[in-house]
Symmetry: C2
Subunit: 252 residues, 2 copies
């Protein structure tokens, strides 16, 4: 089994991408299952194979511990780690070729508290990778782009997984998509764009960070995806294959 964690900020399209990726694998003859790790999700665009909500009940946590929505959300996410045995048993029963893990809505509750890293480290799998979603609708400026790139890098270090960066909602971006894709592969273009938007301390901080990210091999570009039109999934599957299967494509 190979495992694909799907991460990104709240509303970036994690659940929809998980669903579309499952469709893509299925159409190409592979058996892909989805593990929902979000204890607070209400509706999902897929039928769940393994569901953390069977093990962590957000509403009873609110009632039992007399917590507000924030506190209950934090506690529910922290409890995920303690359910790894049950989750693993269910995954083993399903026994897919690919396990797609739809991570909790608010990424910080997963990535910056202990449960996320614990699940990533302890779920039993031949290979693991992380797909991080850059929410196209949040990238309204070059400095915003750098801000999300820093978040992506922060999460990559925190989860300690090879990471594929994806740009979502490309159908909403129009001409801006080309700019964003250029920024993600060409440091000079991005520096120029930042210099037009900012100066002083922010400019100096941003450009120095960019050079650090660039030297660290960050600038491998984003894979543009539309969950609506389905564009980009061939490229995403190729990138996943290079990490998970040493380049072998899924069988037809």
């Amino acid at each position: 089994m190979k495992t694909v964690f799907v991460s990104g900020t709240a509303g970036s399209g994690k659940s929809l991408l998980s669903s579309k990726l499952q469709d893509y694998y299925s159409k190409n003859g592979a058996f892909a299952a989805i593990l929902n790790l979000d204890p607070g999700v209400e509706n999902m665009p897929y039928t769940c194979d393994v569901d953390v909500r069977d093990h962590v009940d957000y509403v009873s946590i609110m009632q039992q511990y007399e917590l507000g929505p924030n506190g209950a959300m934090v506690m529910a996410n922290d409890l995920i780690a303690s359910k790894i045995g049950d989750i693993q048993d269910q995954v083993d029963q399903v026994n897919p070729d690919y396990l797609i893990v739809d991570t909790p809505g608010q990424i910080e509750l997963f990535a910056y508290r202990s449960s996320g890293r614990f699940i990533v480290d302890n779920i039993s799998s031949d290979e693991k990778t992380n797909v991080f979603l850059f929410d196209g609708s949040l990238i309204t400026s070059p400095v915003n782009f750098v801000s999300i790139a820093l978040l992506a890098t922060s999460i990559r270090l925190r989860l300690n997984l090879p990471t594929i960066n994806v740009l979502t909602k490309t159908d909403l971006l129009g001409d801006k998509m080309e700019d964003i894709l250029q920024w993600s592969t060409n440091l000079k273009t991005l520096e120029n764009a930042v210099s037009k938007e900012t100066d002083g301390d922010t400019y100096s901080l941003t450009t120095n960070i960019l050079r650090g990210l660039d030297m660290g091999g960050f600038a491998q570009g984003l894979i543009p995806i539309s969950n609506v039109s389905g564009e980009g999934f061939l490229n995403l599957e190729g990138a996943l294959s290079r990490v998970l299967n040493l380049g072998e494509e899924v069988e037809n």
Copy 2:
């Protein structure tokens, strides 16, 4: 009026620090008020001067739009921006010397969606600054420290505010506090610590990012704070003063 935004990951101690900072200012003869910006908070360790919950009702949002806790949380946070007029009116009536803004529990809903930057840009104030809390209990390794430092930098770029970095929960850290403080001021020490924990791609990415952050003037250190013992508030007030009052201390 000077405004201090208090930001940090869920559970990092934002509300408690807001409360203690208000106490500190009050004891030193300044009038400090607190604006709660978290629509989902249940209990607060202070009496609120202005409360976003008077304008955004999390529970009715859940019911009215038939949303789960995640969806309602996202929507409630997004709605904050539309209430800026009402919030500003109330702040003007209170008219404090210092407005301490306790930002929403989950930082990503504030910082990475549009409402946070909108509030930061549009609240009327002579000077504004951001206090970012490094949650001491999350920094279990050098790479984790770098990960939180990247998040802090990402938020700084996103909010576009001068930022003071604070280390919280120092009373829980024991000997590790000295290590963390060294990492935050001395790049070589941090690089050495990272090299003992990691190698290959992660090491190369981390050290290059660190050099970028360092050149960008990041390594100004953390101010250690204990919300329990009250240690560190003198230093925090001094740092705030340098940003907000051009170095003048609050009157005694």
